[in-house]
């Protein structure tokens, strides 16, 4: 984008940019209206629903704690969708990378338990997760480029395979025999767990783990990478038109593999924090749907890394409010899933509105 030289051009740029804010917000309002009709048809009060979402997600420091704890993995899994999406790849198996990376980090801790300092164990676990995630989704990018295998389906199949790998080991060779309740790996130990971010805890009484900071930092870093570097430029060019990018001599294949590896590393980080900050071990609870909600977050943010954190917090709040809505309104826990699905559909349909209003861009009217 060329730097605007005059006031009129600045105004025009803001107008054009506002399209990307107004249309998603409009889509959210339409979703809320449709969902309200759905609730009315069931004889429930939409107003009570909205109040509960507010209270359960954003009303108190406790609800903020729940919201941000859920937002942290969502930021990272959404980034895992956004970066490949810039190259035109639709990866929906981030959940698989999260699960496998979480498992890998718990396994990496095993040889060190009981003797090593957390200063050794924590980086080892973190690296294990990032590498596992990067290889897992990187394979999807490689398959796409070298074999022409569709990345959407390959990544999803690999999600199911990741779940089987986790189950195979936690119910077999790596099962902690001292835990009779749920098949899990051995606990990584309290000392090796990631604690809450101190200043958020002290000042605002919100206990959120460091995954939130990692998520936001990654969002900023990837925003810079995609918008201010040659890599980002080449990636966007590839996403715009693969043939043109190839004709320009861009290494399309390498870009695809690299983008999916970055994506996998992000999902892997989410897996690490789920194990190291929440669960303390690897088990079936890793499969919590963060990878799938991340797809939605990324689409709502229009695959723009810097927009992902606020959207993730919005959806984290929605997920956090799920429990209270279910109890107070006598609705099934799938209510939040219905709302999320509805938002996703409306949002994608709203894509058709871009470029249709002369208000946003008087010149490019069509």
């Amino acid at each position: 984008m060329a730097a605007p030289s005059g006031v009129a051009e600045t105004v025009a740029a803001i107008r054009r940019g506002s399209e990307y804010v107004v249309i998603p917000i409009f889509a959210l309002i339409v979703s809320a209206a449709l969902f309200s009709l759905f609730l009315l048809a069931l004889g429930k009060s939409p107003q009570q629903f909205l109040e509960l979402v507010w209270r359960g997600g954003f009303g108190t420091s406790f609800s903020w704690e729940n919201t941000l704890t859920r937002a942290a993995p969502l930021i990272l899994t959404a980034l895992a969708v956004a970066i490949p999406a810039r190259l035109g790849l639709v990866i929906i198996g981030g959940e698989g990378a999260l699960v496998l990376a979480g498992f890998a980090s718990a396994v990496a801790a095993l040889p060190f338990l009981g003797w090593a300092s957390p200063w050794l164990v924590m980086p080892v676990m973190f690296l294990a997760a990032v590498i596992a995630g990067a290889l897992w989704l990187g394979a999807v990018g490689a398959l796409r480029h070298y074999r022409g295998v569709n990345e959407t389906i390959a990544s999803l199949l690999m999600f199911y395979i990741a779940v089987s790998v986790l189950n195979f080991f936690v119910e077999g060779a790596l099962r902690d025999p001292s835990d009779p309740n749920k098949p899990s790996t051995a606990p990584i130990g309290a000392a090796n767990m990631v604690g809450p971010i101190p200043w958020l805890k002290d000042w605002l009484d919100i206990g959120v783990h460091w995954g939130l900071v990692f998520g936001i930092v990654m969002a900023v870093v990837l925003h810079i990478l995609m918008n201010r570097t040659t890599f980002g430029f080449a990636a966007r060019l590839t996403g715009g038109n693969v043939r043109a990018a190839r004709a320009q001599g861009l290494p399309v294949g390498k870009l695809m593999v690299l983008a999916t590896m970055i994506a996998g590393a992000c999902a892997g980080m989410a897996g690490y924090f789920e194990v190291a900050a929440i669960l303390g071990k690897a088990n079936g609870s890793l499969i919590a749907g963060y990878g799938f909600t991340g797809i939605l977050v990324s689409f709502l943010a229009r695959h723009n890394p810097i927009v992902i954190p606020p959207v993730a917090i919005l959806f984290g709040g929605l997920a956090a409010a799920g429990g209270i809505i279910q109890r107070r309104m006598g609705l099934p826990d799938a209510t939040v899933l219905v709302l999320q699905g509805l938002i996703f559909v409306v949002l994608l349909v709203s894509e058709t509105l871009y470029g249709r209003f002369s208000f946003f861009d008087p010149e490019a009217r069509k």
Partner: protein, 306 residues
């Protein structure tokens, strides 16, 4: 492994292939029809789950499983119609809409299906071909659901129709080149809308089989990605309905490896055998695609293959 155990495993896999393949068959035929028209519907996973819930609920309330099957088909065609109608808008991506509808359909199915997890609905009956053989295990294996034969019939009919009828030709033309179809005066949007709606109907019926026959109850873990595997299955079958039938049997057999081995006491690696259909699908996709050329039989308009 002894001979007797081998026979047991083979029989269990044969029975499993027939039992497990039916939902694969229906959902892949639905996907095949949709893709032949040039569009891809990843939402069939959601349609399958919603169809399963609808079939169970309607069967419970009406007392007739066949009314349940019909209701599942109608519910499925509504999802298909929604996909078909939305995708004709400019700038709307059919793959992404499919993912969204998968989420939405699954959410609605879980939402409305909550009260039906406990009660027992009347199931679909099976036809007993056991009189043909003497082996007691084979007798059990030869209790086959009529929907299996309906699926086979649909596959043959669809294969024949693609080759020999005007409707089949129109669908194929629309899928291969929208420009040609337009030049011939065919409404591309209408053809794709109808193909997606009909595809949704078939997927809904596939879901009905899951809840009303095998495994034969409604719960939230009912479909583990069968609707999505159908997409891979159609690629494997090269968009040929008859090959879809063979591929569905193969997937059914792969899914039955784990339980079959368990029945003779081999439980080691059970979870890996559970993953067999997914690994098989992935291997098939790797083996059957190529970055250089488009696949034989692939509809030219398909975004997935570009």
């Amino acid at each position: 492994m002894s001979d007797a155990a081998l026979v047991t495993v083979a029989t269990a896999m044969f029975a499993g292939a027939i039992r497990v393949s039916t939902p694969f068959l229906f959902v892949s035929l639905g996907e095949c029809l949709t893709e032949k028209s040039g569009r891809i519907n990843l939402g069939l996973e959601g349609t399958l789950v919603f169809g399963a819930m609808t079939a169970y609920a309607i069967s419970y309330h009406s007392g007739s499983p066949w009314i349940g099957v019909l209701a599942a088909g109608i519910a499925g065609s509504l999802f298909g119609a929604l996909h078909g109608a939305v995708c004709r808008l400019p700038r709307v991506n059919d793959v992404a809409i499919g993912i969204a509808l998968m989420l939405f359909g699954t959410g609605l199915a879980f939402f409305f299906g909550k009260p039906y997890i406990q009660p027992t609905a009347p199931r679909l009956p099976s036809i007993d071909f056991g009189f043909l053989v003497s082996n007691p295990q084979l007798k059990e294996a030869l209790k086959i659901n009529p929907l299996f034969f309906v699926g086979l019939l649909v596959a043959v009919a669809m294969w024949w129709a693609f080759k020999n009828t005007r409707v089949g030709l129109t669908v194929r033309m629309t899928g291969d080149s929208a420009a040609t179809a337009r030049a011939m005066g065919t409404s591309v949007d209408l053809v794709r809308f109808l193909a997606t709606t009909a595809g949704g109907f078939l997927a809904g019926v596939g879901g009905a089989f899951l809840s009303l026959y095998y495994p034969g109850s409604w719960n939230e873990g009912l479909s583990s990605g069968q609707g999505l595997m159908a997409v891979a299955l159609v690629i494997f079958a090269r968009w040929n309905p008859l090959a879809c039938f063979v591929a569905a049997l193969l997937f059914g057999g792969a899914g039955a490896i784990g339980p079959a081995l368990q029945s003779v006491g081999i439980s080691q690696g059970y979870h890996f055998f559970n993953a067999a259909p997914y690994i098989l699908t992935l291997i098939i996709m790797i083996a059957s695609t190529s970055p250089k050329r488009s696949l034989k039989g692939a509809p030219g308009e398909l975004t997935l293959m570009k």
